[in-house]
């Protein structure tokens, strides 16, 4: 892979770290309570439990961060 200059990648590195950590904290945390509703009033989106879809979304965000990092930040040095 071609190595872009490290200082130019710093903002991307910070953004990816923030998004990844936010997804890790908010995904199972506050977000899961907001997305899923409460036991007497379960939320569904297109017939699918919203809590399950929220999990899929959170995982997608975290995985995307890794894929972007792997394509841009992580260099093959040898």
């Amino acid at each position: 892979m071609t190595d872009p200059p490290t200082d130019k990648l710093r903002p991307l590195r910070i953004r990816l770290t923030v998004v990844f950590l936010a997804a890790l904290l908010i995904g199972p945390g506050l977000g899961s309570h907001l997305a899923g509703g409460d036991p007497e009033n379960v939320r569904f989106i297109f017939g699918v439990p919203a809590l399950y879809l929220w999990l899929v979304f959170t995982c997608l965000v975290m995985t995307s961060c890794i894929l972007i990092a792997a394509r841009t930040l992580w260099r093959d040095e040898d």
Binding site: F20, L24, G47, V56, T58, T63, A70
Partner: protein
């Protein structure tokens, strides 16, 4: 069709032995016996590295316990799968510097690197080895036992077998056979055989995880039919519970963040970083880990757990329905009931394959941990006691460790069922990741910060370990079930991951003690930092070969 499980199992076991022998043949020309036996000459490529890391990461837990949690508690336990992207990131972020300096300085075990940085103290090496053993030993014993239970599941109609005039239950026969085969291929081929068999076992495991979910969804009428059934479940199963209920958000966050990292810095995985051929291998492994595993969980076995709840609802009093004695059996129950009915002979073959895959999950964890235990015992104990021992002697000592450890594990399982010894080992097994997590503060310090001192590292490790010992089930064994201390830690355990609790204390003690003691000298720290960053020399001390 009765013979299908026999044929599937025999083909699988023969395949493992064949891969073990291939590993032996490939390693015969190696110049450095120890580096070849423990690290496959540091030449493992993407396929081998990614599948051996995945297969080692998951035991039978992935395909039995995890869907069992979903069956019992609905969607909330599924959030524990978010530990997978965290582990994937750690494979590159922690794994690549470990690989780089490991190649440059010829490390083989985690203690080699840690003791080298903090000063070659026997005590810190011993502590790191002890922590590694606390992770590895219970895993070997419990996986051997799980293999026996799965053998019983594969042949439910065979109550016992007679061997040399002695009648053995199917579980004990399974323990014996699987221990013998695992021991054989680990001894003959070392890391190469373990990794190659992990490729087979990993492929079986991942296919089984995904396939079981797909077939169950098909059986319930496709995605719309599946989710229509699921929507009828109790609302408690489809919403996140508040703390301190099981699988609450706090516990999920701390588990995902720290238990995943603990599993990544345990000795067997750490050695896989040393064994990777180059940085591209670990980068691609992280990509594979972060994409394939979540798919297999979220669209595979999790759906079996949730769909299983609609097919086999729990009774009104919360007890399990007829045919299930433990929620962990849900995947096996679903596939045994549905696959033959839906797919005929193909279904019977798939059931056998999936049951063998479950067995593979246990074996792949047992073999990696046996191999790592051998490395730790040889490098961190035997070599320290007998520094003049050559590479070949050490490698043979390592093989002897594998034989003794396997026989001990099988013996404990055979003789210790229901005894205090097995219960104690099970207690250690449940806290294995919490012990391993105590390596994280020093790992992060030596890779990124390099501000801690040897005294700080030792004090932190001891403090973290003591904290983990206070939590149930170990705390209950030491201080009694009813003690106020265990009651307190039990409440904390419901809220936060145990490894995280130990690590918080570990980090505080590490930082405070390091503040008042002397860190390694500046030149040593700079040289270490340079080796963490710099590219390996072409004529490095240890050979690089393709595996």
């Amino acid at each position: 069709m009765d013979y299908i499980p026999h044929i599937t199992l025999i083909l699988y076991l023969v395949g493992l032995l064949a891969l073990g022998i291939l590993g032996l043949l490939k390693g015969r020309r190696a110049k450095h016996a120890e580096a070849d036996y423990y690290l496959a000459s540091r030449g493992q490529g993407v396929l081998t590295t990614s599948l051996t890391i995945m297969a080692t990461y998951f035991s039978g837990f992935a395909i039995l316990t995890f869907p069992g949690w979903v069956y019992g508690n609905g969607v909330p336990p599924m959030f524990y799968a978010l530990n997978l992207p965290v582990a994937a990131a750690a494979i590159y972020i922690l794994g690549n510097p470990i690989r780089r300096i490991g190649r440059k300085r010829g490390y083989i075990t985690p203690a080699d690197m840690i003791a080298d940085y903090y000063g070659d103290s026997q005590f810190i090496r011993g502590m790191v080895a002890f922590l590694g053993a606390l992770y590895v030993v219970p895993y070997v014993v419990m996986q051997v036992k799980a293999g026996g239970i799965l053998a019983q599941g594969l042949f439910p109609d065979i109550a016992s077998v007679t061997l040399l005039g002695q009648e053995l239950t199917m579980e004990n026969a399974g323990v014996g056979a699987l221990s013998l085969i695992t021991m054989t291929y680990v001894i003959v081929g070392g890391m190469r055989s373990v990794a190659w068999t992990d490729v087979l076992q990993g492929l079986l495991l991942l296919s089984a995880m995904l396939l079981s979910g797909v077939v169950l969804m098909h059986a319930l009428g496709g995605p719309s039919g599946y989710f229509k059934e699921v929507s009828q479940l109790d609302g408690q199963l489809l919403t996140m519970p508040d703390a301190p209920a099981k699988f609450n958000a706090w516990h999920a966050v701390t588990f995902c963040a720290f238990a995943s990292l603990a599993s990544i810095v345990q000795p067997a995985q750490w050695m896989r970083f040393y064994a990777a051929r180059d940085s591209a291998t670990l980068r691609r492994t992280a990509i594979a880990f972060s994409t394939i595993l979540p798919i297999c969980f979220i669209f595979g076995v999790f759906l079996v757990g949730l769909g299983g709840r609609t097919l086999y609802p729990m009774l009104a009093d919360g007890s399990l329905p007829v045919g299930l004695t433990n929620p962990d059996q849900i995947v096996v129950r679903v596939i045994q009931d549905l696959f033959p009915e839906l797919l005929g002979t193909v279904g019977v073959i798939l059931v056998s394959l999936i049951l063998v895959a479950v067995m593979a999950a246990s074996m792949s964890t047992a073999d990696s941990n046996l191999h790592a235990l051998s490395a730790v015992a040889t490098r961190d104990v035997y070599h320290q006691l007998r520094p003049k021992a050559g590479e070949k002697e050490r490698t043979w000592f390592g093989r002897a460790v594998i034989v003794i450890a396997t026989l001990a594990a099988a013996g404990i399982t055979y003789a210790g069922s229901g005894t205090n010894l097995l219960d104690t080992i099970a207690a250690f097994f449940f806290l294995a990741m919490a012990f391993s997590a105590q390596l994280l503060p020093i790992t992060i310090d030596l890779i990124f910060l390099r501000r801690g001192s040897k005294a700080g590292a030792v004090a932190g490790l001891v403090a973290g370990m003591i904290v983990v010992f206070l939590f149930p089930p170990l705390g209950a064994l030491l201080f009694g079930e009813g003690s106020a201390l265990v009651s307190g830690t039990g409440k904390l355990k419901a809220l936060l991951d145990v490894g995280f609790c130990g690590m918080v204390v570990n980090t505080i003690v590490f930082v405070v003690v390091s503040r008042f003691t002397t860190p390694p000298d500046t030149a040593h720290r700079e040289a270490f930092a340079q080796d963490l960053k710099s590219q390996p020399q072409q004529n490095a001390d240890l050979p690089i070969s393709k595996s």
